[in-house]
């Protein structure tokens, strides 16, 4: 009798030519080939996907969507921009809690930048406390100092010589905290996209346009040490904002040349309290004649020749200062020099964007009304902001001459914008004057104590953008920082404990027990 196993093995013995053996080898070969092909296809398709990001934003507020302006800016990036993000969080510090919230949201937004433009890269993201070794490495590599934490640092150029910093203050508008020691400051608006795009724009442009601040006539101090010495009355927040926009604030003392420099992108006259000499005014006038841009915030001094110059250019400053009448809770009223401004021009490029925000509010102190109109050279002046008297709210122009009686309340314009409009039928050889002027009746909104509150910053920077001919940069304080909270009463808190922890799991447990019972039955 033949052994079954021997019999079954017998045909395989000649080996090489065997059908089954060949089939097995062919199958193995096919498997190996298939695996190689699979790995190759897998690798190749993922490389293609990796290089072509496609992102979809499903958030209700479009938090992860970038504007066309940002996309256009990113399309201009031609060399690597590295981003370093060192963080340092103290969860018991209310201010830092708010800052970290804002930075975290901006960090998410930065992902969109990296996805759209691969040349923007996150080079390092390090928590200074958690990874001190890594922080030292990053610090040395990017030449940072210990204070440069909790901000985004953008680097460009071969040796990273071009750098920009974006701080939490750039990224959001914070409201005043009830108590800075214990209460987290309220985040009012997020303007991360604006801040990040501006930083990238400055790295691309690689040039700084000078903004000259006239000095020597009692104007607000420009130098940081002087501004700091001036404390909340200083201009450091405004200056920082200008630098953020790629502008370079410089002092201008007319000195011997008596001319505004040719490279002046914008001339700022901030609250002079001494008269300008005829020569100085001549220099400003010549600068305006050749298409210059002027931003003037008038101080309390009045009746100077500078007022006459402005009047000739279509912005006539009135004498006196504004006061607002406030009713007191117990009856009666008082007059205060801090005037709330809520009315703005609905069509002018500087202010029309405020139509889309829930609230526009500025406060001007010791403001002088500015009257628009009366300009020559075909100039047209437009009131930007004004106060309107109404029932229970009156505004009075108080003269320095100490009038025994207050005049009747009235409506007053507090800032005007001047430019030359092209006539409908321009005469032959007509050449439009490029001059643009904004005159505000008070410098108080430029000071550190007010600049970042209300709509002061937005109004100021919109004026600057308009003066520089960059209307597309006119913005309003970014996206609203939406609050999403549960108003929890004790009953709701009990509900939030019992339902998720016991009721819902209990339902599934009962269903399981029912199935088990059915199967047993």
């Amino acid at each position: 009798m033949t052994d079954v196993r021997t019999a079954s093995r017998a045909p395989a013995a000649p080996a090489a030519g065997s059908f089954s053996r060949r089939k097995r080898w062919m199958a193995r070969f096919r498997l190996a080939g298939g695996l190689c092909l699979l790995l190759y296809v897998l690798f190749l398709s993922n490389v293609v996907a990796f290089r072509h990001p496609l992102r979809v934003d499903w958030t209700e507020e479009g938090l992860r969507s970038l504007s066309q302006r940002t996309r256009d800016t990113l399309a201009l990036v031609r060399e690597e921009i590295l981003v370093v993000f060192p963080t340092y969080g103290q969860r018991d510090n209310p201010e830092q809690v708010a800052y970290l919230d804002v930075l975290a949201r901006a960090r998410q937004l930065l992902n969109e930048y990296c996805a759209i433009q691969p040349l923007v890269k996150i080079a390092a993201e390090v928590n200074v406390f958690d990874r001190p070794d890594r922080w030292l490495e990053v610090k040395e590599r990017f030449d940072l100092d210990a204070s440069q934490v909790n901000r985004f640092l953008f680097f460009a150029g071969g040796s990273k010589e071009l750098r920009q910093a974006v701080t939490p203050q750039d990224l959001a508008a914070f409201g005043p905290s009830r108590d800075p020691a214990i209460a987290v400051p309220k985040i009012k608006a997020f303007r991360g996209e604006e801040a990040i795009t501006t930083a990238i724009t400055r790295l691309i442009e690689r040039r700084k346009r000078p903004v000259y601040f006239t000095q020597g006539h009692g104007e607000l101090a420009l130098r940081p040490e002087e501004a700091r010495a001036a404390g909340p009355a200083g201009l450091s927040a405004f200056l920082h904002e200008l630098k953020t926009e790629g502008l370079e604030p410089r002092e201008l003392s007319f000195g011997i040349s008596r001319e505004v420099p040719d490279d002046c992108a914008l001339l700022v006259v901030a609250a002079p309290d001494q008269a300008y000499s005829r020569e100085d005014l001549g220099a400003i006038d010549r600068y305006l004649q050749r298409g210059g841009k002027l931003f003037a915030a008038l101080g309390p001094a009045r009746g100077t020749a500078f007022d006459d110059l402005l009047a000739a250019w279509g912005a006539r400053a009135l004498e006196g200062r504004l006061e607002a009448r406030k009713s007191l809770p117990g009856g009666g009223h008082i007059y205060v020099p801090r005037v709330p401004v809520r009315a703005f021009h609905k069509a002018h490029p500087v202010t029309r964007v405020f139509e889309s925000v829930p609230r526009f509010e500025m406060y001007l102190e010791n403001a002088r009304p500015i009257a628009s109109g009366g300009a020559e050279k075909g100039l047209e002046s437009t009131p930007l902001i004004e106060v309107v008297s109404r029932e229970g709210e009156g505004y009075y122009l108080v003269s320095d001459r100490k009038d025994p009686e207050l005049p009747k309340p009235g409506d007053f314009e507090l800032a005007v914008a001047v430019e030359q409009r092209a006539p409908e039928r321009p005469p032959p050889g007509f050449r439009r004057l490029g001059t643009r002027i904004v005159v505000a009746g008070s410098p108080s909104f430029l000071r550190d104590q007010s600049f970042l509150t209300g709509s002061h910053r937005d109004f100021t920077m919109n004026c600057i953008a308009w003066l520089l001919g960059e209307e597309d940069r006119v913005t309003v304080g970014g996206q609203e920082w939406a609050e999403r909270m549960i108003k929890a009463s004790p009953g709701i808190q009990r509900f939030l404990f019992w339902v998720p922890v016991f009721l819902l799991p209990g339902i599934f447990l009962c269903m399981g027990a029912f199935v088990y019972y059915l199967r047993r039955a």
Binding site: R55, E60, P505
Partner: protein
Amino acid sequence: MTALRNVWAVLLREVAAYFLSPVAWIVITLFLLVNGATFSYFTSYFQGHPRQITLVVESLFGFALFWILPLSPILTMRLFAEEKRTGSLELLMTAPVTEAHVALGKFLAAQAFYCLIWASLLPFFAILDVLGEPDWGPILTTYTGVVFLGLLTNALGCLASAWTRNQLVSAIVALSGNLLLFYVTLAQGLIPADAIEVQRVLHYLSFTHHFDGDFFQGSLDVRYLFFYGSLAASLIFLSVLSLEARKWR
């Protein structure tokens, strides 16, 4: 059509097997219990925070994400290993179905049950919707991410189960594979700060980054879905090959 019918038949058989077993109900109950406690804890922890609801959703998903590690191996470990051990796989293969039909049907059944487990969290979001105004965008993107990641981890579990006849070995192999995906995140810490390209590649491979950086934030990066999907398809293909291999061993 026949192929679809076959896959559907296998899928129904497997889903029924899940629901007729008390283990499935116990898994869902435990999943809900732990996540319910987490949800309750975070709603009270973030009480008064202006972004309370957003943070609760993020924290809940962030915590629940770690369930993927053991969940998929538990769901898939018995798919082929059990059938191999009892010999019922041979019986199944005598039916007019191919290995691909069986593998796909079993995989889809595991995926369906996995989706059902995650869907059990929906009542929590409904509660948030009643008591507040959650942004449903991040919830939907996270669910999309979880479903696609489930494709990957379940496919890995299927492959592990197809390789062995021991359920425990299958579960451990699948769990190790899932852990490898987590280790990518840890590996990023070991790479020097100036190796930006390597960091970017690791970021592409690290699903914790995908969730923390995008899905939790309401942003859907299709690249990551493609990554999960392509890897899952490859693993399913390998599972089919592994089943076919028993013919020529």
